[in-house]
């Protein structure tokens, strides 16, 4: 019987994929979101985590920037 799983397909570059895998590893077991790691640049994740991943990436980017005070 063919099995179909709903989720989100992620396509990105290798460093960003490693970042997402590391993010997944740092979460407790109940919160892990990666269903399948397909290859170096693709993965399949839970349907509800798209916004969470985007905001974590944005925060990561902001942590590495500095805005001069006015």
């Amino acid at each position: 019987m063919v099995n179909a799983t709903k989720g989100v397909f992620i396509s990105c570059d290798i460093p960003m994929a490693q970042y997402i895998i590391n993010m997944n590893a740092s979460l407790p077991a109940s919160d892990k979101f990666i269903i399948h790691i397909l290859d170096n640049t693709h993965m399949f994740v839970q349907p509800h985590v798209e916004q969470m991943i985007r905001s974590r990436i944005a925060k990561f980017r902001e942590d590495n920037t500095y805005v001069k005070p006015n």
């Binding site: 397909f9 396509s11 920037t65």
Partner: protein
């Protein structure tokens, strides 16, 4: 009427999209007919003048004989335009052949205007009453200043020192595609809004007027009356004073709105008030293609990402603030820097790197405009790279398929997903694949048929 619905690019397109009865009513005004005639392509103009005193239908074949063989496509464009505007009425005669006849109302109005001459519904006021009219230069400066004040209120309401009289509901009509509103946040410029700011003045003006006219029915105003009055206004002389007393109360309301936009200037005297059309008003009956003049540039971008804008305009400052960090705002100079953080703020609002680069190039100061490139390459490339950085991760709603019973079923399912352009990933060895959510239904139906 043409079957194709026209997307209005100028006033005449808007006229052409009006229903037949309203058009015929519009053509009772000779000046409207003259404005229509002016807007036509040269060949179409010739046809109107040539047919102006012919009361009967003329066969389409006869018209085609007036054109050299090489001009058939121009002929067709001209005829189509005349039919769209209902200047020519199309019919079929007893021999089942196509004929054209000049719209009787249009014909009568234009004949009367050309033969007898016409006077405007109002004449300019004598100069002993309207003392101290502004000069043409002052009037043009006033028009552009007023228009810029309107734009500033449009895109950045908190920056306006003296708000205009345009009602807030009308302002929201203008803003609805330019600004995006989110809960508890200040409104932000959208991609369309930034595109709007990149347009030249005439194109911007046309967009606003089009929204004004399109929204008129909601305000209980007949669009035909509004178009009629505006076209009539474009025949008034720039710089001449016309008494407000000659206007209906409906027209007075429009004049007040147009004054806020800079199309007319209203002055008060001891014995009444008058309005003075500006250059913006007379542009209303022109096609956009006719006005190709462009504003002088004011921006210098240096290789160290510093931006210097030689401008006294608060609007320019607000535009630069959208994508750069403004550090000093001097009376005639704005100093800023293009930074990653300021660009991210712009990208999040939907403004694209290409739009920003185009803005900087089109508004390059004359001293740097002749340089190749006018904006340093390291700056343009970096802007593009920072935008690409935001899009490093692509996410697509999808379904993951595995546990296929056989190679044939797997291959068939892959082909099915490919046909629907929905195959995102596959592993032939393990017989796994990922398809877009939209395609899931088709693949499932395919698999059901395999049982």
């Amino acid at each position: 009427m043409p079957e194709v619905r026209i997307i209005a690019k100028n006033f005449m397109d808007m006229v052409a999209s009006m229903p037949a009865m309203k058009l015929d009513k519009l053509y009772e005004n000779g000046f409207i007919c003259e404005a229509i005639l002016r807007s036509l392509l040269p060949l179409a103009k010739k046809y109107v003048i040539q047919m102006l005193h012919i009361d009967v239908s003329v066969a389409a074949k006869l018209l085609e004989e007036w054109v050299l063989p090489g001009g058939v496509s121009k002929h067709r464009v001209a005829i189509d335009r005349l039919v769209q505007l209902r200047v020519f009425l199309e019919a079929v005669d007893r021999k089942n052949e196509k004929t054209y006849k000049v719209n009787p109302t249009f014909q009568r109005s234009l004949q009367k205007l050309l033969v007898q001459g016409g006077t405007l519904p109002r004449e300019s006021m004598p100069s002993n009453i309207t003392v101290r009219l502004p000069t043409l230069e002052n009037l043009e400066a006033y028009a552009l200043e007023q228009w810029e004040c309107f734009l500033l209120q449009l895109i950045s309401p908190s920056q306006v020192e003296k708000p205009l009289n345009i009602s807030s509901s009308l302002m929201k009509v203008f803003q609805r595609r330019i600004l995006s509103y989110r809960d508890k946040e200040a409104p932000k410029l959208t991609e369309s809004g930034f595109q709007f700011l990149l347009m030249d003045t005439n194109a911007q003006l046309w967009y606003i007027i089009r929204e004004y006219i399109s929204n008129s029915e909601d305000r209980g105003v007949d669009a035909a009356d509004l178009i009629s009055f505006m076209l009539e206004l474009s025949f008034h002389d720039i710089g001449e004073a016309y008494s407000v007393d000659t206007l209906t109360s409906f027209q007075r309301t429009i004049i007040n709105d147009l004054a806020d936009l800079g199309l007319v200037k209203i002055q008060q005297g001891r014995k009444g008030s008058w309005f003075i059309p500006t250059k913006l008003a007379t542009n209303l009956s022109m096609s956009l293609a006719d006005s190709s003049s462009r504003k002088q540039g004011f921006v210098v971008v240096e290789t160290n990402f510093r931006v210097y804008a030689y401008s006294t305009s608060k609007l320019h400052c607000e535009i630069l603030r959208l994508f750069s960090r403004v550090e000093y705002q001097l009376p005639n100079l704005i100093v800023g820097a293009i930074t990653k953080e300021s660009l991210y703020s712009a990208f999040e609002n939907g403004i694209t790197a290409e739009q920003i680069i185009t803005f900087l190039q089109q508004n390059a100061h004359p001293r740097v405009a002749e340089r190749i490139p006018s904006v340093p390459e390291n700056v343009t490339e970096q802007i593009r790279l920072w935008e690409a950085d935001l899009n490093r991760v692509e996410m697509t709603d999808a379904y993951y398929y595995d546990e296929f019973p056989s190679r044939d079923v797997f291959e068939g399912a892959c082909d099915c997903a490919r046909e629907w352009n929905g195959l995102l990933w596959e592993d032939s060895k393990k017989m796994h694949m990922v398809v877009k959510t939209e395609v899931h239904q088709y693949v499932r139906d395919y698999l059901r048929r395999q049982k």
